[in-house]
């Protein structure tokens, strides 16, 4: 596996499976602080991505772009534009070879896209709390290659996800709860961690 079309295909399929298997978990998390639709929305979107004829794409970048457009047009809510923008930016920066620095730059571009679309910063109790530490951990380990940097990113991502539990939400629907949003794990950080975990299994 690697960063070629076969690797990205496996990554997207793995993530779609994870979302599908955990649809109730994601919806339950969203019920606690939001509106109980994160699981069903992400599942609808990733099933549409999984239904793409992935082998027909000329490059991993083309596939990632189509995946982003598909999510934008099928997910709705905040997750559609955020995940869609992530994949569109990833597509634009995806490396043409198995290049550790190139993957780091692509992940950074995806993070920048999410932050410019959603305006969230670290500590707002959003997917940024998982993705930002993941990108930083990746960059720190990038000299050791994808096989070391990606697992480091996955670990940091999961830690960031867990660290959302005590936070008070300042963005998204959970922010309406004020202090009552503390004590719940953020659903977006949870699905984002599934995405990175899938990458760890397929892109290395």
């Amino acid at each position: 596996m690697g960063l070629d079309l076969a690797g990205v295909t496996a990554w997207l399929r793995d993530f779609a499976d994870q979302v599908h298997t955990n649809v109730d978990l994601l919806t339950d998390l969203d019920r606690q602080t939001g509106d109980a639709d994160h699981g069903s929305n992400m599942d609808r979107g990733m099933q549409a991505v999984a239904a793409l004829d992935m082998s027909s794409f000329a490059s991993p970048g083309e596939l990632l772009k189509k995946a982003g457009m598909t999510l934008v047009s099928t997910v709705g809510g905040a997750s559609g534009p955020l995940y869609g923008t992530f994949f569109l930016r990833l597509a634009g920066a995806w490396p043409t070879t198995d290049d550790a620095a190139g993957l780091g730059a692509a992940l950074r571009a995806g993070l920048d896209g999410i932050q410019s679309r959603g305006k969230a910063i670290l500590g707002d109790k959003t997917m940024v709390d998982a993705l930002l530490p993941a990108v930083e951990a990746y960059d720190k380990a990038v000299a050791e290659g994808v096989a070391s940097a990606l697992p480091a990113a996955v670990a940091a991502c999961a830690a960031g996800r867990d660290a959302t539990i005590p936070l008070v939400a300042r963005k998204g629907r959970a922010s309406y709860l004020g202090e009552r949003s503390a004590g719940h794990q953020d659903p977006g950080a949870t699905s984002l961690t599934m995405l990175l975990e899938a990458a760890g299994r397929t892109l290395v």
């Binding site: 639709d37 069903s40 609808r44 809510g77 300042r170 963005k171 709860l177 004020g178």
Partner: protein, 333 residues
């Protein structure tokens, strides 16, 4: 879960089929994009008025499509904002050459999807799009540290008034200014007696005891700010009206008063509440000049209600009184 549906994943699709069949004299539905259009769209030279949002708030927004109100409504999944391509499709159809106004309720997802659609409309269609973001819910503290106040009941009043102005031939700048004035002068507050069940989730969004209410709810079954013992209608009216009057100075002004059911509260209770609201306003020197009581901005089957007070000027009253012929609101013609 006890609902009259065929399949949880077909709720919006199946409902739109019936909606079109029931109102084919007024509206058309693009089932592919889940967009409701007025039957005579686009209207040459008229500013196109588009709203949209998650489904589950019926009659808002599809039920407000027709003469004197909306040209199109984009229907998302239940409680999920519509996607940019839905909004883009609606924008291209209703554009009559005078520009298009997007009416957006202030939710993170709605803002992002409508923003992406407006960017695409400018790039792909060359249509001038302006947006009004409705944020009237006093239950949310308006600060830099939240997503800001939600758009709730005022949205229905704004859609009527702005739709009336567009029908009368106002241009996009005038309509945008009017929409901003309506948003600046309206406030809402809601409470829930029960939660509601999103079909895809299959169970209530929150649990509420028999003798409890959730005060300060939005319109998506999300929990509110505070849980309290069940009040009388008179006490409930106080709980809803006081935070509104504390937030904006209504003294000596004329208002459109809107008492709205969240879906499950029947009219017999809404009228009891309306009487209490009217009593409080009279004592405070606020004059009700128009009123609306009923099920307009709902949250599926949630029992509960909201109160919206709009300080109305002559222009707003004129467009409020103008004829409207939609599935959800009809008068004056």
């Amino acid at each position: 879960m006890k609902k009259l549906i065929n399949d949880v994943s077909d709720v919006v699709k199946d409902s739109l089929i019936g909606f079109e069949a029931a109102h084919d004299d007024l509206i058309r539905v693009d089932h592919q994009n889940k967009v409701v259009y007025r039957v005579d769209a686009p209207i040459e030279g008229k500013v196109g008025i588009i709203s949209g949002g998650g489904s589950g708030h019926e009659p808002m927004h599809g039920g407000f499509v027709g003469l004197g109100m909306l040209d199109a409504a984009c229907c998302g999944e239940v409680f999920t904002s519509p996607t940019p391509d839905q909004v883009l499709a609606a924008t291209s159809v209703v554009d009559g050459g005078a520009g298009v106004l997007h009416i957006v309720k202030n939710y993170t997802g709605d803002i992002m999807n409508f923003e992406m659609a407006a960017e695409m409309a400018a790039a792909d269609l060359g249509v001038r799009v302006e947006a009004i973001v409705v944020n009237d819910d006093v239950a949310v503290q308006d600060s830099l540290y939240t997503a800001g106040r939600r758009g709730v009941g005022l949205t229905a009043l704004l859609e009527k008034i702005v739709g009336g102005a567009a029908e009368a031939g106002a241009d996009l700048d005038a309509i945008l200014a009017l929409a901003q004035r309506v948003n600046a002068n309206g406030r809402s507050m809601g409470l829930a007696l029960t939660s509601c069940t999103v079909p895809a989730a299959g169970q209530p969004t929150f649990e509420l005891g028999e003798d409890e209410i959730e005060l300060g709810i939005g319109i998506h079954g999300e929990p509110g700010r505070e849980r309290r013992p069940l009040p009388t209608a008179a006490e409930a009216a106080q709980l809803l009206v006081e935070p509104i009057l504390e937030d904006l100075d209504y003294r000596g002004s004329e208002v459109i008063a809107f008492v709205n059911s969240m879906g499950g509260t029947p009219l017999i209770e809404l009228y009891i509440l309306y009487a209490e609201v009217a009593k409080i306003l009279q004592a405070k020197g606020v004059r009700i000049v128009r009123q609306l009581v009923g099920h307009y901005v709902t949250s599926l089957e949630m029992a509960g209600c909201s109160v919206t007070l709009l300080k109305a000027d002559d222009e707003m009253i004129k467009h409020w009184d103008a004829p409207v012929v939609t599935p959800g609101l009809r008068w004056g013609k």
